[in-house]
């Protein structure tokens, strides 16, 4: 088991990077739709940005004009929900209950940072201690690498709220875009309509229309 985990992890990383740019059609629709709306509203300030689709457990990276650059599966918070429990950022991991392990949804102004182990990360919500970082396989029983490599979405819910990205994808796409400057990440909600979390969707000049399988009006 231990001897096989090294090659398996390497294979998983290779496959993830090789196929990272091929998103699922439905997931891409939602992310692309939100990206276009954000660019139309100049909400991204002409800067590259990322969209997290929690329902499909994927991250999409766009350039400043809203053109898709890459996509990858991600790991998200174990619990379904779009809000962080107040004060959760100050609590020890051991004090966080399973139902509190949510990845918050909304528009986040990100900033590069470091965690206490010196690892470079991207803060999504500093106060709530939510970041985007390279997947960590330190706890073998969680099988994070295998979860990322699997084609299913349900098993991608394992973290305490952070967004885990394949290491190769992080270095190739996330770090260049968000790892050295402030940026914007849009996390699509999973329990409510998107317009309730993104103010720019409510502006009439956006002329938003209902997309296939995705209703901005909820």
């Amino acid at each position: 088991m231990g001897a096989a985990s090294g090659p398996l992890a390497a294979l998983a990383a290779f496959l993830l990077l090789a196929f990272a740019h091929i998103p699922l059609a439905g997931a891409m629709d939602e992310a692309q739709w939100l990206a276009r709306a954000a660019v139309a509203a100049a909400d991204n300030r002409n800067a590259p940005f990322a969209v997290i689709d929690k329902r499909n457990a994927r991250v999409f990276v766009f350039d400043g004009l809203g053109r898709l650059q890459a996509s990858s599966p991600v790991l998200l918070g174990l619990a379904r929900g779009d809000d962080s429990v107040p004060g959760i950022g100050e609590r020890a991991m051991s004090e966080i209950r399973p139902e509190e392990r949510t990845t918050p949804a909304g528009r986040f102004e990100t900033e590069p940072g470091l965690n206490t182990k010196g690892e470079d990360i991207v803060w999504i919500d500093y106060d709530a201690a939510v970041s985007m970082h390279r997947v960590r396989a330190t706890k073998k029983s969680e099988r994070r690498l295998q979860r990322l490599a699997s084609p299913t979405v349900a098993d991608n819910r394992i973290s305490y709220g952070c967004i885990n990205v394949p290491a190769a994808f992080y270095d190739a796409y996330i770090k260049p875009v968000l790892g050295s400057r402030r940026g914007v990440v849009y996390v699509l909600p999973e329990t409510m309509a998107a317009r309730k979390r993104f103010a720019f969707l409510g502006r009439p000049e956006q002329g938003l229309t209902t997309r296939r399988g995705f209703s901005p009006a909820g």
């Binding site: 800067a47 918070g77 959760i88 950022g89 991991m93 966080i96 392990r101 900033e111 590069p112 940072g113 470091l114 965690n115 206490t116 010196g118 990360i121 803060w123 500093y126 709530a128 201690a129 939510v130 970041s131 970082h133 960590r136 973290s159 305490y160 709220g161 952070c162 050295s180 400057r181 402030r182």
Partner: protein, 97 residues
Amino acid sequence: MNSTSRLLAALALGAAGAAFAQGNPPTTAPANPATAAGQQNPSGGPMGTTGVTPESGTARTTPPTAQTSPDTSSSSSTTMAASGDTPAMRRARADRN
């Protein structure tokens, strides 16, 4: 020295003593306690302001006010380094993994 001379000397000495005694006694209740009875401008003007007389009418009678700087309270609370797209990195902290 005869008695007349002694009398004249005594009178002169007494007159001088009286003259000294007629000087302004120390002020025990000055108008401005902060200045006590120290050196004051005999004209009533401020001390240490050369070239300005009380009669000029333009003498500053109120203490100078501190120069106020432009109000920056409405500006962002971020530091200069944090005002751009390359912010000063915040304190490292544990994330939620």
